[in-house]
């Protein structure tokens, strides 16, 4: 363990408007498992994508075996012995195990036919190494997610990977599958492979990591050797920045619950039931790490993906929501995370986007009244300060912030009772952000209940009156404003406490 096999030195990467990585260092030694930890947006994935050849760094150097290495593409990374197992598997489920492992590099006979016996025999070697007991001829679709992941690892090994990057490999595995994956990782380490392991699950990190490298806001936050790894030490390093709190408390505090969600089970997390209430006039923040099940819960409440179980009541009356139309009719609206695909029809005018959910309001006998439509669209654009050349401009031509305001305009022209914002300011510039926060607060003041799902800690702490924290599909805690601190939220978000099941 004297010479590092990989050294990333002062790696920097800027995206328009953000510095994703600022002079980050990372060392990996032979036969070592390095865990990379950090909050959402801390720069873990960006750093790994640079190592994997997906992104090019703006500054810094990568040394492999003390030699400067130029990694300009995924194949450069592979040639340098770097394998990448992505969170979303890149497998072809119509091809067999062996075909997946050697895709594009099939052994040939006569120069153009696939040499199947050799293909299968070669793949077998790697499956054995990983202890994966399936036939190499099995189509991938017949394998479990965990087994497909092994095939991806086999592929990386067949490319002679000495450094294996694993991005959230256990996020869709069961507990036993996770256990066996961790065993495989330990075996690989014995065989001399180094592993960079990204995970939000601190328990796993504790079990297998030889070292933890923590990133925070695109910078190195510290390194923990094996002996010092614990929940608390990692969380302390992950947070611990000053958060600019411009929180304005509500002027009217009404404690009566307006919306009550009971035992809601989503299709993604079938055995986790979530329950919470939103009070009239409050902003309830939903914090959690990416994939904690917050958006799924929002989509279930809005009727996009009907929940498997659970009730939603409004003003004490249970309402049935089987489709977005039901939710809209009850005054429950969603501002979706994926603005460009779910929130707006980009190549249609702003006017048509605004009136789409309530066209009948601007129509008589089934015919749209163009004048009424123009009037409301102009009013909403003016009220929300939407910067657009005209209400006839296509929504796709507006900036991110203005597009978000158009999505808001769709709902504010109606009669909102509960507004669910899913990542309301993602990809939006600072000025528009402030405007959206102001609007949110003004809406709450007018008696609307607001749920704000956000992965931005600053936003959660700056805007929420209470914070619900989710982990793996369950609400692990609901914090009152005074209890809510970045550390308290992170502890709940990484599942330090047992899930609260009702």
């Amino acid at each position: 363990m004297n010479q590092p096999i990989l050294e990333m030195q002062k790696i920097s990467k800027r995206f328009p408007g953000v510095v994703a990585l600022d002079a980050v260092d990372l060392q990996v030694f032979p036969s070592e498992v390095v865990a990379l930890a950090g909050e959402n947006g801390a720069g873990k994935s960006t750093l790994m994508k640079i190592l994997g050849g997906v992104y090019q760094p703006d500054g810094g150097a990568i040394l492999i075996d003390n030699q400067a290495a130029a990694i300009r593409s995924v194949s450069d990374a592979q040639a340098n012995g770097i394998g990448f197992v992505h969170q979303e598997l890149n497998v072809f489920d119509n091809l067999s195990v062996a075909e997946n492992v050697f895709l594009g590099r099939e052994p040939r006979s006569f120069g153009f036919l696939i040499n199947r016996p050799k293909l299968n025999a070669d793949a077998e070697i790697y499956l054995k190494r990983l202890g994966l007991n399936v036939s190499t001829k099995t189509p991938l679709r017949q394998l479990s997610i965990a087994q497909q992941q092994m095939v991806e690892i086999a592929k990386a090994l067949s490319l002679n990977a000495r450094i294996l990057i694993m991005d959230e490999p256990t996020s869709s595995l069961t507990l036993t599958e996770t256990g066996s994956l961790l065993e495989v990782i330990k075996d690989l380490r014995e065989q001399g492979v180094s592993i960079i392991y990204i995970s939000h699950r601190l328990g796993e990190i504790k079990e297998i990591a030889d070292r933890v490298v923590v990133l925070r806001d695109g910078k190195n936050a510290g390194v923990l050797p094996r002996g010092e790894i614990s929940h608390d030490t990692i969380v302390k390093m992950m947070v611990g920045r000053d958060i600019n709190r411009d929180y304005k408390p509500p002027t009217v505090v009404d404690k009566t619950p307006l919306i009550e969600v009971r035992d809601l089970r989503t299709q993604r997390y079938t055995n986790q039931a979530i329950s919470f209430t939103v009070r009239k006039g409050e902003i309830l923040g939903f914090a959690g790490l990416v994939g904690a099940g917050r958006s799924e819960a929002a989509q279930a409440i809005f009727g996009v993906d009907a929940p498997i179980a659970g009730t939603v009541s409004l003003d004490g009356k249970t309402i049935k929501i089987a489709s977005p139309r039901d939710a809209i009719n009850s005054g429950i609206y969603l501002i979706p995370e994926d603005r460009r695909n779910c929130g707006l029809i980009l190549d249609v005018p702003v006017r048509e986007n605004i009136t789409l959910p309530a066209l009948s309001k601007y129509s008589s006998i089934g015919l749209v009244n163009n004048a009424a439509e123009c009037k409301i669209s102009r009013e909403m654009c003016e009220k929300l300060n939407v910067k657009t050349a005209s209400i006839e401009s296509k929504a796709g031509n507006l900036s991110g912030g203005n597009q978000q305001k158009v999505v808001l305009a769709k709902w504010l022209s109606l009669n909102p009772k509960l507004l669910i914002f899913d990542e309301p300011t993602r990809g939006i510039d600072v000025g528009a952000k402030a405007e959206i926060y102001q609007l949110m607060r003004a809406l709450a003041e007018s008696g609307v209940a607001i749920v704000m799902i956000s992965s931005d800690m600053e936003e959660i702490l700056g805007e929420s009156d209470r914070v619900a924290v989710m982990h793996e599909g369950a609400i692990t805690g609901i914090l009152e404003r005074i209890e809510a601190s970045e550390e308290a939220i992170m502890q709940l978000a990484v599942g330090h406490h047992q899930p609260v099941l009702n």
Partner: protein, 317 residues
């Protein structure tokens, strides 16, 4: 309107050239026949246009023409049903086929191409079986002359199918360009996900398009049956769905969905019929008929694409 302008100019140029090369193009008998055909083809092309705007397709229209022609002949000539009853039955049955298409596409979630391809094969077979593979017809149309005159007659020299097309176009224009349903058709065709998030019942909207398409096909099919006056079940209506699709595409409908207009579809229909007429009048071997149409459609779509690229380039500059 700018989108349809190119096709419209092409249509005008083609008419002028044709009139110069062969003045009998302007003979009233020729123009009347042309208008009659435009009437029949336009009606079902509008239906196909609606389906294409949702991002779908209906390949079964031609076979449905054969089936409904056979049924119409049996109802009128063999069963001697009253004209109104026969029409109602045929329109009802054909429209119901649209309900089946809509159900299979939106609820069972089979791709429109496959659903209607199966319809193309199935209804053709059914038509031939029902007719005993024999040609059916209406003969002298004894007892339902008025009905026949809807297809073959004229009012003040204007062929009735053309008048029916104009009436249907006006209604279709209002539905597509002014009604809530029309707005939903475009919304679902452009971005079904966003439409869903806006509370639009996209299944209902898409199924509606297929039902309307079949309804319009029933009207066009009845007119076509009387126009040909005999229905050979193995060939009647062959390729007609493709004429409709071609007219819609020439008129600015995108097969990706979300684009198109009634005026465009009408211009597209007229262009195809004038081309057909051109082949006849200029003495081009009729075996080249399809080749000429294929070439012109390709040129039309290419020109449209080039024009749009140039426009896009100008916008970004």
């Amino acid at each position: 309107m700018r989108k349809e302008l190119g096709t419209f100019i092409l249509l005008v140029v083609l008419c002028v050239v044709l009139a110069i090369l062969n003045p009998s193009f302007l003979a009233s008998a020729n123009l009347q026949n042309l208008a009659r055909l435009i009437g029949i083809y336009g009606i079902f092309s509008i239906g196909l246009g609606l389906v294409i705007i949702t991002g779908g397709i209906d390949l079964s229209v031609g076979s449905v023409f054969a089936l409904l022609g056979v049924l119409l002949s049996i109802f009128l000539v063999e069963w001697h049903l009253p004209a109104a009853a026969a029409i109602l039955l045929v329109v009802g049955i054909t429209t119901f086929l649209g309900v089946i298409n809509g159900f299979l596409i939106t609820k069972v979630k089979i791709q429109p191409f496959i659903v209607t391809l199966c319809g193309l094969l199935f209804y053709r077979g059914l038509a031939r079986f029902t007719a005993g593979d024999e040609t059916k017809g209406f003969g002298a149309a004894a007892g339902f002359e008025t009905l026949q005159s809807l297809a073959t007659g004229s009012v003040f020299g204007v062929p009735t199918p053309f008048i029916i097309l104009i009436l249907i176009s006006v209604v279709a224009w209002v539905v597509l360009h002014r009604s809530i349903f029309g707005r939903y058709l475009f919304a679902v065709g452009r971005n079904e996900m966003a439409a869903h998030y806006s509370g639009i019942n996209s299944d209902f909207t898409v199924a509606g398009a297929y039902i309307l398409c079949s309804f319009l096909a029933s009207i066009a099919g009845i007119l076509l049956s009387f126009y040909t006056n005999s229905i050979s079940p193995s060939s009647h209506g062959n390729f007609y769905e493709l004429y409709g699709i071609a007219a819609a595409v020439l008129g600015g409908c995108s097969l990706r969905g979300g684009e198109g207009s009634i005026i465009g579809i009408l211009i597209g229909t007229a262009l195809l019929q004038v081309l057909q007429n051109l082949v006849n009048l200029l003495g081009i071997p009729s075996s080249l008929n399809f080749a000429v149409m294929g070439a012109v459609i390709l040129i039309g779509v290419l020109a449209d694409q080039l024009l749009r690229q140039r426009q896009a380039a100008r916008v970004t500059k």
